[in-house]
Symmetry: D2
Subunit: 366 residues, 4 copies
């Protein structure tokens, strides 16, 4: 547990760097009996990989997954599930001359400060490529959530100044899958595409907002006071890299309202307790209320741009300039979608096991 | 570690409910040799307690602290520091008739769903009163941060629709302490006060935004990829209760910009590495960059208002109405200031010990 | 989690020193709905306290317990249960002249090496008095074990050279409660008493062996490969203080046998799977097998004796002598019985929650 | 952290089963800058593998290691070090007919009870083969210990009824490496060899005792009261599999002595504090005293023997018999030596980082 593990009962440890031998994850705590194949994980990995559309970086990694342990005769056996993806298309040449010159907006300077000796090629472990581990863990988590009919869907709601209109929760997954932006508003998707290609042509990049919705989560999930559900979800999203803000429900808008305007009142729908509004985004007192959990994360524009930028030479302690060559994403929001879903799925699964909704050692029939 | 402990090497476990016998905390992992008196903690507690101004709830708790262990001859001895505050002014009468009727906007429904048997009086452990534990842990953390000249200051930047102007970082503490709102912009403070009293007269409440600044944090603090500094700080703030959003630096604004506009470029200031801008809010790659860490949290309006609200009777599974009597805050933002400082201080201290900046067992001379 | 917490889902954090203000524990993770009164805990505390027989130290602490949180209307509410015992009869005079002279056999030298500033009075937190915290946690754990009909009983099987005969498992509790030694063999108990008084008259002390039996533990409890049940139980017992060895089933005797002689063969008893022998002591592959779990711990003689002993003066770095005055136990084995039961009960309870046998948030009817 | 991770700051997570695709480990928390090559780990792995002498099982696994991450230009970079060994020589045929018939003395019955769906081939993850992960973690730990001149050496002191004589601590490593038994007493080694071959010819197996010595450990290591050094070391050894007892220093012998006989008195050796005797085995108050740490573990005879044994058919719930074919060790004690060293090395390294002796992020020059 030195920073590379998430979860207490469903514990996912990831490893690997952008230009190292391989990346992967070890998932410990998945109950036995779950059907799991490498295709299940490969499917999710394919959504995140580069080169999947003209809008993303052309690095052509196939990212073929191999499961090393934890699965026996097509089902998990309760032991740690290790899975790896070997790096194939790493081009390290672009990084040699950046060795001691931290790229603005990236974590280079912090990695060097913390570790001294650091794999700077392609951002090392700080590279978005490490999210391969997130998705391995997240795809297994999603299969467990399926058993409880819990669905996690993320989509892009904003790119640069283009905002998508609000779409009915139950149409988001279907609509967002129809375009490479993964935006549920088709017209906004077109404008977003245009804005991204425009930034790409200038060697620049754009930021955006990704929204994540979890439906079907039972009420009472989360552990006050320091391991609440919203706290853990926020941490998981903020940890994704390039995320600079997280909000739930009305989020930052709550600052402008009175309680009488936004308190979600309760009512009965048959035997179920629901709220007439959901400004709290499905979380009350830090725990799930049973209403859809709705969160948004702010994604900053990819720092790697081809313009000349000012930085310092850490060896000589003097100012200098750099030009980042290589292949970079003009907007990472679409690729963040499966990663955000994975981050949320892993947290929910961990909490569901900790709170007695999923049996810790063997998957009982539901 | 069943939800009530924060931190791995500087571990603070809190306990206690609004109307129980006592509240407190056990702080485990504070190195030996730190001068510590109960006055140090009492000072911080006094900032958070109710009844401290005409703007807050009139519950008149003196909140007198007692240290039970971990301090010997005025210095910590490396063993767990337990401190308690006994409840004196609890008025439970207002809650009997709310027993099975979850108050809108509060966590009642979630507590009942999770635990079944639950102390509903005054919100039980879900009450903001549990932040007494935060402040005990936070005041000890602050003393350790002092040794490294690290300063954590929080202040109110927005209440309802009133926003304070940006104030120079180094004047914030001084200015915000001059008014009960704890806003560094004196004119905005006056408008905020007016808005709060206005809401109070209507039996309503207002939300707001609290900003927290940490200065002097060395670069490289934080543990990628799942225990990054921004992730842990976000979680700590989101966990405070009534918080619905957290952002760092430019926060949600990053979605609207290009990288060329907001990448923070590096330069040398003598021997020190700095950035010309700080849109990243002092965090890059999830780790501290050495620049001031600037975060903001959105605080929702206190759900307890005196207007009639719709809810359900959980026993009878039918709809009903409630009127919350008792004494409630029209705006909790001012009281959130010491709590937010504590939350951030505890996370920073934990990371500083984990990363070798503070010795884990004995405070060496600096 | 800086060393003073045991357990992951049933987490007990203890605090307090021999001569400080108070000692106690915070139990986090006990599901809601368990009937709990301070008498439940007081009962167990009374078994461990000094002055309870002519064979133990005459320090006359009443050790009156107070519950501060976590219990509402006679039942746990799922929030942390904090309980304290205030010190009354601490006589610090005997320790001033021992300040920088580590007592042989005690942890003084290690405490000083680790912390520098250290409460040396009465052994500080290293004193056996800290087991008050163990017993608070253990008594609550035992109530949960009761719900599953799991019984934990410890007894003294050896003192000095006197060994008790083997007694039928189901008679141990009854027989051992009949004498102050807590030995199930009455004749051996008499000899042990004589040996202890003899050592006491010489200002010396004796060691012994305490055996702990847990019956009714379901098969399959324990988490290979690093959190096995036998591993966690061994750690818990070895951590008690004065313990120098732990063994399970045949223990060290297994070294002398062949597998054909000691493999426990399986058979059916009705619908239940059992083993004809139980040399494995109820643990196979690190997990419970369903057979009684039988462990033994070796307790060294109390190091505090009144004879003159050689030590060093740490300030002057020169050799010196000391004479330990004050009130000391000639044999702590009888008082270790409730502590060993508590240690085992806490580990079992933690594992039972982690493995789905006890619901984590609310006690369901059995 | 669902049972397959050891350590808090030097966290080793292992994965893999006897007949699965691969086994390995992820080591998180090793500071950057340590020279590390796969040969370093391969060396230790070769000591544990089967087929390395006529006394062990003839399964001919080459166990070739591959490092997947965490090492850059020959030095660790602070990120997780993942290493794998692919299985080659797995013969699953011998296990099909044992599927629902738990082998006496093995963990099969417990694995089935816990997980239901379980990889029974070759003992699955319960197989001693999982210690490949221990040794990966242990060999990296040993390199860190080297930097502090801390040495961990294990050796066999007893096999069946043959006990080796006590050998001077500083000769143990040299002498024990001269024979395949790894016993420092050459004459006893010959008798042990004879006894093992004798048992082998009968299709039976023998147990024994392995002693582990750690020298150079600074005083004050260990975290009272629940994460003491002896507690964590005991757990690590007890977790190894086939271990039924652990003791430190005089171990179980302390029960027979008086304090006046065994208290270790302090004296000065130049500037160093030492004890004239070391019955405490280098641990006082649960922490290291600076004297050599001496522990022993009792290893039961390998349960897999070729004689017919009684067991049950779990499907039919009726009694039956089995004959275990395949290739099995007549005595695992020699192969336990590198595993025990690894277990101890990992615990020491974790504690050394937690207590400030090894920097957590970057290896500073010593």
């Amino acid at each position: 547990m030195a920073g590379n593990t998430t979860g207490k009962m469903f514990a996912v440890t990831t490893f690997g760097s952008s230009h190292g031998r391989a990346l992967g994850a070890v998932v410990d705590g998945c109950p036995a009996g779950l059907e799991l194949s490498k295709e299940d994980i490969q499917l999710e990995l394919d959504k995140r990989r580069p080169g999947s559309s003209h809008l993303t970086t052309p690095r052509a990694e196939k990212d073929q997954l191999e499961i090393l342990s934890g699965v026996f005769k097509g089902r998990t056996d309760g032991t740690p599930i290790a899975a790896v993806v070997y790096n194939k298309d790493a081009d390290s040449s672009a990084y040699e001359n950046l060795k001691n010159k931290p790229r603005p907006g990236h974590g280079d300077y912090c990695w060097i400060s913390r570790y001294g000796h650091y794999d700077y090629r392609g951002g090392g472990r700080g590279s978005g490529r490490n999210t391969i581990g997130h998705v391995i863990g997240g795809s297994i988590a999603k299969k467990l959530l399926d058993k409880l009919s819990i669905k996690v869907v993320a989509h892009v709601t904003q790119v640069g100044n283009v905002k998508g209109r609000t779409v009915n929760l139950n149409l988001i997954e279907e609509y967002s899958e129809k375009n490479p932006i993964r935006c549920a508003d088709p017209q906004a998707a077109l404008k977003m595409e245009k804005a991204i290609l425009d930034a790409k042509s200038k060697g620049d990049s754009l930021g955006g907002v990704v929204e994540i919705i979890a439906q079907g989560v039972p009420a009472g999930l989360g552990e006050p006071v320091f391991e609440k559900l919203d706290g853990d979800l926020s941490r998981a999203l903020m940890n994704i890299g390039s995320v600079k803000g997280v909000e739930i429900g009305f989020g930052f808008k709550v600052a402008e309202y009175t309680a009488s305007a936004i308190n979600d009142e309760f009512y009965m729908e048959g035997d179920e307790v629901k709220t007439t509004t959901n400004t709290s985004g499905g979380i009350l007192g830090g725990m799930s209320s049973g209403m859809p959990i709705i969160m948004r994360m702010a994604v900053k524009p990819t720092p790697s741009i081809s313009m000349v930028q000012k930085t310092v030479n850490l060896d000589k302690k003097e100012e200098t300039e750099i030009e980042i060559k290589g292949r970079h994403d003009p907007c990472i929001c679409p690729r963040m979608v499966p990663v955000a879903e994975s981050a949320v799925a892993m947290v929910l699964t961990d909490h569901l096991i900790r709170s007695g909704y999923i049996h810790p050692t063997r998957l009982k029939t539901i």
